[in-house]
Symmetry: D2
């Protein structure tokens, strides 16, 4: 299934008038604040967020998985799904693949299909947290950190293959998320596990093309419950620094201990030019992988506020923007539409912050004013700005309404069958 421009335009027709009223009001308000509305719209248009292939089917927990209907059973299906999202919101022009779940059979065919729906290939993800059928060595006790050379070699080799796959598709980054760790004190040497990880990453780094990034993810726990080798940004940063200029830290919003000030981590990493990108999601307890913005929208705004300041004030290179969520309860495509909207709302709000006034309040220790300046931006209803950016790009003023009115899921079920399951999950 493919959404056409006609489909989309038709869905916009009845929303246009009310959209115009709201946009006019907002544009006037922003204009009064001295903001350039068309520049804002252009920035919002430019923000493109990659969709991970594994978020297109319903995710599960260790207690089970409730599959959705018409899930994408093949890589082609997955690309089609991202194409649908992009047709609707004009903000998801890339997919992030997970190997071996998404290893292409015919690269040229895949690239052509992706081209047709204007989708590129973002960071490729390796998987050394599961054993594949027939695998000679097991990752049960770790992969890149394993005390056994043979296991480490296997995991290194897998990552190199992922790079090769990415090269054929036009990716420019390798994301390394390691489950490696220990569930019990004493299970392994904490120091050796770190040193093994570093050595293994060095091996992989050697094969990284010059114009690629290596994105090193961190996470405090799960699936290991005593220690994770790359437990925090400090460990990732330490490794990225040692590895070299192509290695960066990736921030997954759900990979933190309770109450962590994530925006400060973002600010610090940008100061050091080592922020590589994001896995966006939201969470209340742990790595809950909920829809972006569904739990802590103000924190997301504060993160974007730091990003915008960092773009202006640091030499940190451009970022990789990805979603990493897992949707047990919603239609995955609807969930992704909500996630992307939440990211763009936070970005737009952060663009409204009066940076000059804020800096002045900060210099004079006017804490009351500083809070008011941030919250004035946050409390502004920026949705008409987003809608206008999408409308101008040919997308749907209200993406979820369009998705529903156009019966997208029903058609996917018709095409794929009700019990089609997302590969890899």
């Amino acid at each position: 299934m493919k959404l056409t421009t006609d489909h989309i335009q038709q869905s916009n027709t009845k929303l246009k008038k009310e959209h115009q009223r709201k946009f006019d009001f907002l544009a006037e308000s922003l204009d009064q604040r001295g903001l350039d509305v068309s520049e804002l719209i252009q920035k919002i248009k430019d923000l493109q967020i990659a969709i991970p292939s594994w978020a297109l089917g319903a995710g599960g927990t260790r207690f089970g998985r409730f599959s959705g209907a018409g899930e994408p059973a093949t890589l082609i299906h997955k690309i089609q799904d991202v194409g649908i999202l992009h047709a609707l919101n004009k903000s998801n022009n890339a997919v992030s693949l997970h190997i071996p779940w998404d290893t292409p059979q015919d690269y040229e065919a895949i690239k052509q299909i992706a081209d047709e729906v204007q989708i590129g290939f973002d960071a490729v993800n390796s998987n050394t947290f599961q054993d594949q059928a027939g695998q000679l060595q097991s990752y049960k006790y770790g992969s890149l950190a394993n005390s056994e050379q043979a296991v480490r070699d296997l995991a290194v080799q897998h990552n190199k293959e992922v790079i090769e796959i990415g090269k054929k598709l036009g990716s420019k980054a390798l994301t390394v998320w390691l489950a490696d760790g220990a569930s019990f004190p004493g299970q392994h040497s904490l120091r050796k596990a770190l040193q093994n990880t570093y050595s293994s990453l060095q091996e992989i780094y050697k094969d990284l093309p010059e114009d690629w990034k290596m994105l090193v993810e961190y996470k405090p726990y799960e699936p290991n419950f005593y220690s994770t080798v790359i437990q925090d940004w400090g460990t990732s940063f330490l490794l990225a620094n040692k590895l070299g200029p192509k290695a960066f830290t990736l921030v997954d919003l759900g990979h933190h201990l309770p109450n962590t000030n994530i925006e400060q981590i973002v600010a610090t990493l940008m100061t050091e030019k080592k922020l590589g990108g994001f896995h966006f999601n939201d969470s209340k307890y742990g790595d809950d992988d909920l829809t972006v913005g569904s739990i802590k929208p103000y924190q997301l705004f504060l993160i974007f506020h730091e990003l915008i300041r960092g773009f202006d004030e640091t030499e940190n290179p451009p970022l990789s923007w990805m979603i990493d969520a897992s949707h047990n309860l919603k239609d995955p495509l609807e969930d992704l539409l909500q996630s992307v909207e939440a990211i763009k709302i936070s970005y737009a709000q952060a663009l409204l912050v009066d940076q000059k006034a804020l800096e002045s309040a900060q210099e004079s220790h006017d804490v009351t004013a500083a809070q008011d300046i941030l919250q004035d931006a946050y409390r502004t209803d920026v949705r008409p700005l987003l809608a206008e950016a999408i409308r101008q790009s040919g997308g749907a003023i209200s993406a979820i309404d369009a998705y529903r009115n156009l019966n997208v899921r029903e058609q996917l079920i018709k095409e794929r069958g009700k019990s089609s399951k997302a590969s890899g999950l």
Copy 2:
């Protein structure tokens, strides 16, 4: 110092036109959603939040205190300060006193002063977490929970005196916050401490007038760091149930372990008709006592959403609304204005939730729609609605602007002296 209506009106003059533009837009939008704007405004006007006497001076931490200037050194000063807040925002028509810090000398004089600024007396607070000069028994090892009868008696007696003071002022509730607990395993018997607390509360309850409430606060830790006798809502609820129909649980937003779902506690307590009231504040780590809405505004909205459903669907009696914050870094009056505004924003947003549509989405397990319905309300910029409610009541369209333009703090410093310190802190 007293703010007059003239002062306030004058501050509104130059804001009126822009306010009108924004209010008209919002009113039209709400009207289109089928909402009765004047009813909304009335509800917002009716929301009155009590100011605690101890929030009028800069609070400190165990590492020190940085006092503000022109702090209220006497009870009269404190009432004046609340009068200033109420003149500005028309939403703080009561003060909540802390005994013995605020014990009046001349009740009639105090009541007259309060009348003049249209301030009443909300819940009275007892203090058994500090020893007063010359006190014969020490609360070092607990008060109502102490293993020594003599100490418990002293603490019970103090609470009875607080009730007497409250009766003279027109209060209708006693708030009991107990620091009692243990910092080390074994320090006291967990079971006996709970039983002693219950017995002591029973003694106090006997003296509680028929039309009063006893508000039993809970808190997981601080100032005791191993165990607090009333550690959670379950313990407070257990005690309130045993004590009788006048006893209720008080929820202080900062008194929870990391990641607690507070709105669910609110919903449960209302179902059981045992929610007594709130101490509003915000926090990132523990009982940080920050400005309401400064850290987790969406959580505050979700709490108000539960409150509004509870008002409609349960027989829980009306609540006591209080702020409990501690302001080290901002002018306390500005901080309180921001807190009150944040409460009212959350309340107004929650009033906008389309309850019918939400119920329907819930019944049909349409999780996407349910989230959208809540967030549609939350993302609406309701500030013009608040401003209109205040304007109609004779307050300031922008309270902090008015406070600053009218040089309130400067005048207080002139009257009280720069180094005037808030009594009790």
Copy 3:
């Protein structure tokens, strides 16, 4: 495979002398403290902990599962496994079944097999967190709490069937763990979900035999990540109180928010005669389901200290003792042997606490002494006491050594095959 007394005795031979030396030293030390060593040994012998059927195979996470070898593929296998544990440590005389994973085909045959290895049937567990093949209604959006009557009915009916199965096997308790909750604000009505749960539990309670208990578990999150209907002990206690005298709260050590004082919950529930039993495990982050005592052994000791005081000072009925762990990395039988040993160590240490001296220290606020009294017991190496209790009962002085020396797992693999998988996981 079945371990015989001969096997066990043989494994003890070479350990006896050193055991005797250590036991003699300890016995003399305890004797000097005025403790009755044979009474202590008897108490340790009497402590029997049920093994959950699902802990006999390697558990997994949402990121995958690394199966062990020779896992018990049938209910008979599972009973055999518990029989092996009990032969070794004489402390696991019951199994706790999970329905429908363990539904017996032939009750008499199963009971006879259990009899042969001296294993009884502890609490039966219902499962309404997964859909079974062909199930007409889905638990995707909840079971007992579901807004749809038909789903609630199905879940109630399932629980009633579990009771029937338990009756046939001689169980005396139903454990209800509910995954019901919401992953997103607004997904369901928090109040209605609680009320539906209560109504459903009432229906089940009606079918509960007079001499049975209903054990109501609580948990803050997972597999739902915004709200769980029975989120804490307070909610479970509230329900248990309303349901009636046969309903109790079950404490799973891993089901708490960070830093919760669990021993205080235990003390409070016993005071109210509403503690029903335990699911023992250990954790660092969330419901990690690690080996008991592997992370926070002192907390476990403090819990047992409260239990022992509660046994003496309250009228709480006898408890159900169960392990609930999930072993991804160790041989499950070894892991369970370690868990059981850790429980018994904590129990033995708690038995050594000088209660009189502690009470006296508490009365006189001698915090230093109170800590020393607890830690003196905790720091005592009680392992010889445990070994003696097992030895006297005919078990293995060192259970894991015996398990390994007798090549138990190798034999199970031979009997069952290397790739035998535990049913239900």
Copy 4:
């Protein structure tokens, strides 16, 4: 007051026989494990932990302070107190001063008094979290991180003075704990605050003598409740790396978010040769500053396990060992005796770990055995080993018993007066 060898010996007399029985048993057991008992004793003797001057009086919370009796009102008193501790346990041969609270008047006199009780001067601590009387610039909005150059200069200057004081006393390290941060989003620029801190530390570093260390502490929150400039080990490590070879990270056990794996941080820092030292204490919730070992003794053991491996396997320089606790409820000297004992117990237990067997278990992924090896050491009652080390050094077999039997506190009260208050608190 000064404890003489006679006092101590006398207190040992009646404990000697029982001590010998226990020590003999333990020595035989350790001998059987192949351990060199006299080498163990020597290592325990060599462990010396500095006492911070501020832990000698009762600490308080923001809710008040319950002073003890006979607190040390002067620097001389404080040195006497540490002398008493050292006479009793032979493990505290140094004091760590806090400037300006402990600025000496007469350096030679102070050094002579310290010499007499065999006490040296460990790291000196600067204080830029409080304003001193007459201070021209305020630290209210930060010190080394402040946006105002004049405030930063003052704080830099203070640190340089602290170094000068330390030089005169023979200290070899400066500990920098910064309260700097923000309680509200927007209050200051997160990036500028970090950069200012780095610049300020560079200034101080320039004045650091060649044989000194700069110990950079980190802490996630308190007294600022939104952001702390040096929020975690990663930030401290980043700064220490940039500053140079004399800068190290200091780990305070209470300065972590919930559930942090501290032992892994220790292992990582040692791998990078950047671990500078410790502030020991214990905590359940936040920076609770409780007696070491009173809440999580197993975690402390695991930390010492990493330290011992790090000493063997890394080139990390020798560490600064300090206690940092705050004792509201116990006699501070008793509390410190308990803390020091807990540290030494953990150290001794960690020395017992069979490193060869552990390494072998780790290499073969024998998780069960690895856990058993660690817990075998942890469960050993090592107290007789500590007692023997102290006895041989001329200290008290049971320090707290001796302290009480010799009526130390009573004599201090007699000498200093009941209401003597610790200076600085």
